[in-house]
């Protein structure tokens, strides 16, 4: 493997981690609203 560890789009990988976790939280909230709306 070549050690090219620079992330795309963001300066640090930490921003990618926040993005993944943030998107999960967003989905859970969206699903909760979805469940409530169609119940």
């Amino acid at each position: 493997m070549i050690d090219e560890d620079k992330p795309p789009l963001f300066k640090r990988w930490t921003s990618w981690y926040y993005l993944v976790i943030g998107f999960l939280i967003f989905q859970i909230l969206l699903f909760a609203m979805f469940t409530k709306y169609f119940a």
Partner: protein, 571 residues
């Protein structure tokens, strides 16, 4: 199946085999055969990870789950994005730095040879058996619905992919998974689109969602709370999904060679990271849409007569037994319910189009009542199937989607969706065979059998191991034929081992003072505890992953402090 279906099915399967052979050129050494010379871009890593995880059962079982139990199964995947982040922070940099072939090599560097060998052995046992069952599980469904011979179906399901997996190793696996996933998603999208098109005039997609939701199928988020408190036996809720799902995903992606072997093929740590993180972004929405198809199929069956039981074989078998009259009685009652449902829903398209909310609610209340009665009849049929000891399982969840496909989808699309089942199976089985061969070659052959082979000899031996594991999995599939669907068995079997293996790795990463002897005996004790808890309690299996991992950590710290205090961290 019609002639166009056969043409589509055979052409799709052959094209994958030919493409796999075409992509088979690698350097004739272990780097080429098991790691594609570490030159894969992130999007191929992503598709390979997804193709390995998504088996045939994912596409057969998930829509059926949504039909019978609603969409809450999606919560099972909530821990996965979190696991991807932890993997990228902890596991990946170490695996990358050590330039390993298998995850278990790291355990020898950190602990000792016996811990590495023991963990690799647990992997070979659990992955070998579960891959055999993964060959059998979709085969039994296809053979029941299409009348195919189960033994021959097993051979096609687990055998044809061996051609390109043996010849091309990890590279052929990754490239075919890319094409397979493309076909699988196209097929599923067309199926979802056709379900909506088959709904009566006046009932659109949003109306179908409304009906599905009011009939309890859009329960995406559930909390597992009952009047008596939290239900620990409830399999899918947000807590078991986030916590249990996190431990399961961390163990599966971080310590199961079938997944580790996929992201080690990346050309840099950056590409591995991107592949894993993208998986964390797309997996939950992907599962949501597969489940949504099941929820829409449920709506379809509100407007069309639903079978009393979706697998015809056990029903026909029961007719030949003394339970025949009881079955006939239930079928007559079901016919009455189907007629009542037909009358109730006949007004629904008009009511929906005129936005008469009160009227709509009235009809839906009536439909809910009829559905409840129908479910009671289905439960009675399942009891009869169990009592009569006939061939075929008493659970038809995994037959629902394919039965719908066979009965209602147009010619050509049926063939494509049967091909989807084969391709999804091939994607995960091919990766499993590649990983079983790599663990056998690197963790056992090189260590204990022949240590100084040339690159060419190692390459040829690895191909033989891949072939050997392929044959082993087909033999397992043939041997378990007649034991029911065993889909649950795959998950349970995984949960027996996944938590313990994860615990070993977590101790390796986070508990620097713990040595090889302590973790080895902690793993054995953890394994006994997990299997004991499974046998003695009704705890939902998802929790076993968390319990196994935590038990190994606690035992390891305890054993190191009390029994192996004088030993170093490397035994």
């Amino acid at each position: 199946m019609s002639t166009p279906d056969w043409i589509v099915l055979v052409a799709t399967l052959l094209s994958i085999i030919v493409y796999g052979i075409y992509r088979s050129q690698t350097s004739r050494d272990l780097d080429g055969y098991f790691l594609s010379n570490r030159e894969m871009p992130w999007y191929l890593v992503l598709l390979s990870i997804m193709g390995t995880q998504a088996s045939a059962i994912t596409f057969l079982s998930a829509p059926g789950q949504a039909y019978t139990d609603g969409m809450r199964f999606v919560q099972y995947y909530f821990g996965l994005p979190l696991a991807m982040v932890v993997l990228c922070i902890t596991f990946l940099p170490i695996f990358h730095k050590l330039k390993i072939y298998t995850a278990y090599e790291f355990l020898e560097k950190r602990f000792d040879l016996k811990t590495r060998t023991f963990t690799s052995f647990l992997f070979l046992v659990s992955r070998g058996l579960s891959t055999g069952i993964s060959v059998y599980a979709p085969s039994i469904i296809l053979s029941s619905l299409l009348g195919w011979n189960i033994y021959i179906t097993n051979i096609i399901m687990g055998g044809l992919l061996i051609i390109y997996t043996v010849s091309g190793g990890a590279k052929a696996v990754a490239y075919t998974q890319q094409l397979q996933l493309g076909i699988v998603f196209t097929g599923m999208f067309l199926a979802g689109y056709t379900v909506v098109k088959l709904l009566p005039e006046g009932i659109g997609f949003s109306d179908a969602l409304s009906i599905s939701g009011k009939m309890g199928r859009l329960n995406v988020i559930t909390t597992g709370q009952t009047a008596q408190g939290f239900d620990w036996t409830d399999r899918y809720n947000i807590f078991s999904g986030v916590i249990g799902g996190f431990f399961l995903a961390l163990s599966y992606f971080g310590t199961d060679q079938s997944q580790v072997g996929r992201y080690l093929t990346a050309k840099s740590i950056r590409e591995s990271r991107l592949g894993l993180l993208m998986n964390g972004l797309v997996k939950v929405p992907m599962q949501f849409f597969i489940l949504l198809i099941g929820a829409l199929v449920f709506v379809f069956y509100q407007f069309n007569p639903s079978p009393l039981f979706f697998n015809k074989i056990p029903i026909e078998e029961v007719r030949q037994t003394s339970f025949r009259d009881s079955l006939l009685d239930i079928e007559n009652k079901h016919a009455v319910i189907v007629e009542k449902k037909k009358q109730a829903v006949a007004k629904l398209p008009f009511i929906v189009s005129t936005h008469a909310a009160a009227e709509e609610e009235k009809v839906l209340i009536e439909m809910r009542g009829l559905h409840k009665e129908e479910e009671q009849l289905r439960t009675q049929v399942k009891k009869i199937i169990k009592s009569s000891n006939v061939k075929g399982e008493a659970n038809d969840t995994n037959y629902i989607f394919l039965r719908f496909v066979m009965d209602y989808l147009p010619a050509g699309l049926v063939g494509l969706l049967i091909a989807v089942i084969f391709l999804a199976a091939w994607g995960s089985i091919a990766a499993a065979l590649n990983s079983l061969a790599s663990a056998t070659m690197v963790d056992f052959h090189r260590k204990f059998f022949i240590k100084n082979q040339s690159d060419e000899q190692e390459y040829k031996t690895s191909r033989l191991y891949t072939l050997g594991w392929g044959i082993f999995c087909i033999v397992v599939a043939e041997l378990v034929t007649g034991m029911g669907s065993l889909i649950e068995a795959v998950n349970v079997l995984g949960s027996w081992f996944y938590g313990v293996i994860l615990g070993i790795f977590l101790v390796a990463f986070y508990f620097k003072r713990v040595g090889g002897n302590a973790v080895f005996w902690a793993a054995l004790a953890g394994e006994v505890l997990v299997i004991g808890m499974y046998l003695q309690t009704n705890l939902a299996w998802l929790w076993l992953n968390a319990i196994g991992a935590i038990a190994v950590i606690l035992f390891a710290v305890l054993f190191q402090g009390v029994i192996f205090r004088k030993e170093g961290t490397k035994a």
